[in-house]
Every structure is written in structure tokens, then in C-alpha cells.
Symmetry: C2
Subunit: 496 residues, 2 copies
């Protein structure tokens, strides 16, 4: 068959897969936001059916054969088609290495483990989930063998989330970052001793939601192509072209956490929206990695959202939603949303100590995977690492090793992408500031257009054209490294 026939086959099948994927996304979004409780069992059956329809199409021999054939004729293709075929070949090869029995066993074990974790966590009961974690680790080790690797089994797992990344580079990078941040923390806290942050305050849920919507509109999240709703766990989802939905949650003790959660998810949505719509169903229209995705959410949540310029922009909006009754001094507000304080819970951590939580998890999962640490020893190793990096100890496993769902649902190699996102966000921002010298003024005045333009041109529009490392290199003329993030922290807190 001719190249053009094969390409037509591929693009047609990708389009159908994209439609089904959109439907799947809607089923999940609705379940988290709108669905009444009694519908859960029926929804699970609908999702299972749709997943099997998707799987059938993704493993359609006509698609796989076309990809294999064209991959072998790669040099004959146009550049864009060549990239599409390269990425599809990558996906197909990975999928083909995993027998369906393994995939099914992993899914089943993960589901059982998740259920066990849900019930064990409130009971502070590590022993009851230990066997599940052991099974999931064994399955991850088997998966690494099936996928193959050069020297580190971990690479085979990391690759699922951060394609092309190698722990030989990511590991030392994050360890250096951890060390440098650890040294900065006491200096920051010393600096903070002189701060006079805004006193605790209250905003009703309605006011918080109004603020979130207003900020969304002002920063360019259009409600003509998006939604903002409330859920227990915030997320961003795109159930189809022109449809970018985000959610947030409310915490009584912290009335701005809903706003920062909104900014985080808006960052993810901006990335999805910025991907080339005409390539939506092909790798050219898809996000390149979790690390880059997270760079976009953290850029908006932390780097922009906690900047002095943004808080000046925010002040009149706070005044507007509170009918003038709440109009805090931007500097006092800045000091409030930038408190750095080592703590126990990753998801509540400030932007400086956050990466230390990640380094701890990366060290531990590497040790577990390489059999240098047993699951039984994990809780005490956890406490040891928390003492070392953060100087805190969880009173019980609930807020210690059981705090995150990731391992207990089988995800090993995922955590590093959070810190890679943070590194990349700092690198992108530093570069952006060089190229857009008036960026802070723009933010202060609520003009986010140059920022969106820069992100679209430099990051979003490329889809999976370049690997994440290559993308960073092209944007920032530098290999991914921790320096920009360290400079960002130093500058922010006025350290030497």
C-alpha cells in the first residue's frame, strides 16, 4: 500500500480514537462533578465498555501494521508525518511489549490495592496494604523487564510518564535540587522572621467561587470553551475540541487555596488549549510529558500566581468580589501566600519545600524497585528521610507513607515529574522574562496576552514534536537543570 493510503488509514483511525477518548473523558468528568451517587455501578460498566472499545481500536492490526510499515519508510515521509509515525511507533511498541494478561493483572491488583489503601489510611494500618504494595512492586519490576531498559529498571517506568527521561540524569538533578533547597530553607525562614503577613481572613464559598471565575476570565480562561466546577480532588479535563474543563476545591482554613487550585488547573487547561487543534487526534496535538504539563500548572499556580505582580493584579478583584470590604495590602498578601515551612503533607507543601517531598519519594521508590529496601521497612525509611530532608516526623503512617495514592495504585516513576515540572516552570519563566522585559508590568495590569503567546509559541504548539528535554533546550538554550529554580527562590526571598 502507498504511503498516502497508509497515512489516511492512520489519521482516520486516530480521529475515531480521539472521539472515543473524548467520550471517556466526559464520562469521568461527569462522574466527578455531576453524577448522582446511585449511578456509580452503571457508570463503571459504561466506562469498562468504552475502555474496551478504545483498546480494540488502539490495538487494531490495521493501525499497527500501517505504523510499522511507515516507520520503516520514515525517510520517505514529510516532516510532520514522520513525527507522527515516530511517536505512534513508540506508543505501539510499548503497548505491544505488555501482554494483555499482564495489563489485566496490573489493573486488577491496582484496583484492589486502591480499595485497601482507602480503608487502611484512616485506620493508620500499613500492615494491611503491605502485601498489595509488594504485589504492585513485583508487577512494576516485571513490567520493567517486559519493556526493557539499558541499565536501570526504573527508566522503563519513568518513560511512561516522561518519555526519553533517564534516571541517571533525573536522579542526580533532583538530588542536587534537594540539597540546594535544603540549604536555602533556613535562610528563607530567617528572612520571614521580619515578615508581617496578612492575618487570617475568611471568604464564603460563594465569594471564593466568584473570585475564581473572575480571575479565570481575566487571565484568559474563556467560559465559551471551558467550565469551572467544584470537586473533592481538582483536575483538568478536555472532553473534546473547544472544551476545557477545570475543577477546584474549598478549604475552610485557607480561603485562597481554591484560587491557587484554580490557577493550577487553568495552567493545565491552557496547555491543552494551546496544542494545535488541527492535529488534535495525532501526537502533534498531544502533550509531550507529565513534567511539561506540570510545568504549565505550576507556572500559573506558583511562579505567576504567587508573584508580587500577580498579587497587585489580584487586589482589586478581591475588593470587587467582597463589595469593597476586603482589599488587602499586596505585600502583606504576598507574605501570606509565600510562607515557607517544612511540613508533613506533600499536597499542602509550599513551593520551596515541595520538591523535598518529591526527592524523598524518588529515593524510596528507586530503593524499593532495586530491592535495596523492603516494603516492610518502608515506613521507617520514610520517617528517616523526612527527618533528614524536612526535619519533621509524621505522628502516624496516615500522614506518613500512606498519604499519597500513587504507589498504592501502582504508579512508580510518576513522582519525579512533579519536580521536573517545577524546574521547567522556573526555566521557562526566566527565559520569558528575558524575552518579555515588561512581563511583570503586564501581569500587574492584567494583560496576560504576551504570556499566553510566549507559552503557545514556545511550548504548547509543538505537541510531541520534541521530547521534553529537547523542548526545554530549544526554549531556554540550556539542558534541564536546577539553577533557574534556585535563582528564582533566591531572588524571590532576597537571598544572596
Amino acid at each position: 500500500m502507498s504511503n498516502s493510503t497508509l497515512l489516511t488509514t492512520i489519521y482516520k483511525k486516530l480521529e475515531e480514537i480521539d472521539h472515543l477518548q473524548g467520550v471517556m473523558t466526559l464520562l469521568g468528568w461527569d462522574q466527578s462533578t455531576m453524577m448522582p451517587a446511585a449511578a456509580a455501578a452503571g457508570r463503571a460498566q459504561q466506562r469498562a465498555l468504552m475502555a474496551s472499545l478504545l483498546h480494540t481500536r488502539r490495538s487494531d492490526p490495521a493501525l499497527l501494521d500501517a505504523v510499522d510499515t511507515l516507520a520503516a519508510r520514515s525517510s520517505e515521509l514529510d516532516l510532520d508525518d514522520r513525527i507522527v509515525v515516530r511517536e505512534l511507533k513508540r506508543d505501539c511498541d510499548r503497548a505491544r511489549k505488555l501482554p494483555s494478561e499482564h495489563v489485566a493483572e496490573r489493573a486488577r491488583t491496582a484496583a484492589e490495592s486502591y480499595t485497601a489503601w482507602k480503608s487502611a489510611r484512616p485506620r493508620d494500618d500499613f500492615a494491611s496494604v503491605q502485601p498489595f504494595l509488594e504485589s504492585l512492586l513485583a508487577l512494576n519490576r516485571r513490567e520493567a523487564e517486559l519493556i526493557g531498559y539499558q541499565t536501570e529498571p526504573y527508566d522503563a517506568l519513568l518513560d511512561a510518564f516522561e518519555p526519553e527521561a533517564k534516571i541517571a540524569e533525573v536522579g542526580p538533578l533532583l538530588l542536587r535540587l534537594g540539597e540546594k533547597l535544603s540549604k536555602l530553607i533556613p535562610q528563607i525562614q530567617q528572612r520571614q522572621a521580619d515578615f508581617r503577613p496578612l492575618s487570617p481572613f475568611e471568604l464564603t464559598i460563594d465569594t471564593q467561587m466568584e473570585l475564581c471565575r473572575l480571575v479565570c476570565e481575566r487571565i484568559g480562561f474563556s467560559f465559551d470553551s471551558g467550565r469551572l466546577d467544584a470537586t473533592t480532588h481538582p483536575f483538568a479535563a478536555s472532553p473534546g475540541p473547544g472544551d476545557f474543563r477545570i475543577t477546584t476545591r474549598f478549604r475552610p482554613a485557607d480561603p485562597l487555596s481554591s484560587l491557587y487550585s484554580t490557577l493550577h488547573e487553568a495552567g493545565h487547561a491552557f496547555y491543552e488549549r494551546g496544542l494545535p487543534a488541527s492535529h488534535r487526534s495525532s501526537p502533534l496535538g498531544q502533550s509531550v510529558s507529565l513534567g511539561i504539563h506540570e510545568s504549565q500548572s505550576l507556572l500559573w499556580e506558583d511562579v505567576i500566581g504567587r508573584s508580587e505582580a500577580f498579587l497587585e493584579f489580584l487586589q482589586p478583584l478581591l475588593a470587587a468580589v467582597s463589595a469593597g470590604s476586603f482589599s488587602p495590602d499586596p505585600r502583606a498578601l504576598w507574605e501570606r501566600v509565600n510562607v515557607v515551612q517544612p511540613s508533613l503533607i506533600r499536597v499542602d507543601a509550599d513551593e520551596v519545600t515541595y520538591s523535598l517531598h518529591i526527592v524523598i519519594r524518588m529515593e524510596l521508590e528507586l530503593a524499593l524497585l532495586n530491592d535495596e529496601l523492603s516494603v516492610k521497612e518502608l515506613p521507617s525509611a520514610w520517617d528517616d528521610r523526612y527527618r533528614h530532608y524536612l526535619g519533621v516526623t509524621a505522628p502516624s503512617v496516615k500522614d506518613g507513607v500512606l498519604q499519597d495514592v500513587h504507589w498504592f495504585s501502582g504508579a512508580v516513576g510518576y513522582f519525579p515529574t512533579y519536580s521536573l515540572g517545577k524546574l521547567h516552570a522556573a526555566m521557562f519563566y526566566e527565559q520569558m522574562q528575558q524575552e518579555l522585559p515588561t512581563l511583570d508590568d503586564c501581569i500587574r495590569s492584567g494583560n496576560f496576552t504576551p504570556l499566553h503567546q510566549w507559552l503557545t509559541d514556545n511550548v504548547h504548539q509543538h505537541g510531541r514534536r520534541y521530547s521534553s528535554t529537547e523542548l526545554v533546550r530549544r526554549c531556554c538554550n540550556s539542558e534541564p537543570n536546577e539553577d533557574a529554580l534556585i535563582r528564582y527562590v533566591q531572588q524571590k526571598f532576597g537571598l544572596d
Copy 2:
């Protein structure tokens, strides 16, 4: 193959069809309630794909063959299986008579006609939609020939909405109803001259929504298995088991219209919820006809919702949502929500004059289908019938022949089901009152359990076990007729 093997095949395939149908319903619900505007084009593609997946399964030769084989061995089957096979055979035979080219042409023409109607209506421009209506009529005539009929082509169309119904019975029935109602209207209006209905009042949209929710809860619409949202056109939809969603709309001039719209859709949802869940995917778990469906919505909206007992029940709820500031006298409220006044627009008509709008449409579509009336003559025939039955004349076609979408999207034979619903609602209510002598007291005190129980036992739980006529006969020991409705109106307005 053995009967049990064939039955297993059938039930398995029906289950998959049900899951896909649920997904389709969710795509539509989301589109009407939640979806951002820019997502429309993508959603259309997703729906088209899902429709084609559904069509493939519904016309799966393995399913059709199993149905045909078992239909021929019907006497060997258990009663329930026999009914399932009988109804599936009915559906399959109808579907097989329509070549896919015809179905596609009809769908295409209907879509074009709908678009033309949308733009023609505000412009009062009948001429521009005339050719579309002519094409759709020709397609309906062709469809009647393809389906087949004994004496009346109309029967082949009516049967799609009200299985087994014949215009030779429905026609005279609705004409008698029209004549009798026409005679009652002057008497009612004379009676109303002495009424002192509640003066116009206002309720904010938020208060209206709160009232709707409160009433829903009190009448047994559980939000654990349902939702209430706002849309331009209200509807009820069940996107899966345990999931019954309704919508309402708000009209500034009539602050209770949102409540009556909610009651209407809740009636539909109660029917869906009352169908046997264990048979959800088979005809035994599906509604029997549009007429019976409408009987349930009209029972709640009009027969119950506009009764003195219900308005007494409503008074404290109105007081509650208005923080005590609005607590109208129930009789004055009754007089307000029961004004009978011939008018131009079907969907705004009161419950007495409503059926006259239907009779007009039935007469006209019969004449059109049988070539006794040309489409060109339709506007003047419309005006003539409105003068005859209602004594009103539309100032322009916008509020005349162009007011309803039905014909312009190809639906001929649909309108009678609205009045059949009304007849059935009155018959069911009369029977219910005989069997439940304290029914009014129950409604007054907010105890809707006996009512739900009666409806479930007598109507809902049977699914498609009986035809609508047979169902009415079993419930009410009588053929469907207009007498109960006439008695209901006479009693309500204290006529002789």
C-alpha cells in the same frame, strides 16, 4: 442453537446497547446543560460516532437472527422471554423495512429542514421552509409505504410513537374530546368570572430553583439518583441506571412555570425510575409508548400539580423558600394556576384548551399525508382550524404554523400522543382515587408514597409487557376514552 444460547446472546447484546445508549444520553444531556459553546462541533462528531456504533449493534446479524429464530419458537419460551422476543421482533421488523438510504436521506432532510425552520420562524417566512416540509412529507409517505399499513398510511407513522395504535380509533377519540372540551370552555370561563385569582407576583430565579428542589425532594424525586438543572427546553433523561436527570426553565412573567415544568419532567423521571431495573436493557424495562410517558408527566404537572390538595401542600413550601414573605391563600393560587383561556401557542396553553391544539394538528397532518391538503395551503388551513376550535388567529406564521418544530424535523404522527397522555392521566387518576380513597389527603399532607406505589404497580413495572391500550384496560377496566378527562374537567370547575 439452543433457545438458552440464543437468549444469552440476545441479553448480552442488549446490555451493551444499553450501555452505549446511556453514553449517548449523557452526551446529549451534557450538551444541553453543561457543555461550553465552542465544543459543539466536536460533540456532534462524537455523537455521530456513537450513533453509528449503536446502529451497528442494533442491526447486528447475530442479534437479528437470534430474534427471528426465537420468534418462530415463541411457544417454547418462558413468558418473560416471549415478551422480550415479541417486542424485539417488532423493533427489528420495523427497522429492517427501512433501507439505510431512506433513513440517511430522512435524517439529512430533517436536519436541513430544522436549520431552515430555525432561521425562517423569526422572519415569519413560511415560503422558505415550504419545500423542506414537502420533502419531509414525501419521505413520510414513502416510509408509510415501506412499513406497510392496512387502510391508513398514518398508522405506519403513529405506530413509531404509540405502538399498536390506529388512527381509526385515536382519530374519532380525539375529535370527540375536542368537541366536548369546546363546549365546556364557555362554561368554565363563565365560572371563572367569579374567581379572584392571586395577583401577579415575583420570585427570583434562585428562589424558584430552591422551590423546585424542595418540591422535588418532598414528592420523592431523590437527588441521590437524580439531578435538576436549568435549560432552554426542559427535558428528562436517564444516562444510566440509578441516574434520572431533569431540567426546567424560567419565565420572568410566570414565576411558577419553572415548578410546573419541573413537575412535568419529574413525572417522566418517575416513570423511568419505576421501570424494572433488573430488565433495564430489555423491552421489559423500557417505556411502552410516548402516550403513556406523557400520561405520567401530565399527571404530575396538571392533574396533581394543579389540584387544590397539591396547592395546600405547596403553600408552606412557598413560605419556606421566601422566608415567610410569600404565603398565598391556596384557593387564590389554585385560581391563578387554573386559568382557562384559548390562546395561540400550544406549549403555553392551559390544560383544557391544550388538547384543541393537538386536535388541530392531527387533523392537518392527516389531511397533508393523505394529499387532501397541500403544504402551500397549510397556513390558511391552520388559521381556519384555530378560528374554529379556539376562536383565535395568529398575527403571523411565527406564532401560527411555524410555532412547533415537530413537522419541520419530520415528525408526523407524534402530536396525538400528547392528548392520549392527557386522556390516560385522567383515567389513571380516576382509578387511583377509587382505589386510594384518601389520596387527596395524602397529597395535602405531602405523603406521595401511595401514589408512587400505585403508579409503579399499575403502570411503570410492566415496561413493554402490554400495549398502551392493554395497559389502560388492565388498570382502569375500560378502553381508552375521553370520559374520565371530561369528568375531571367538569368536576374541577364545578360544571354540571
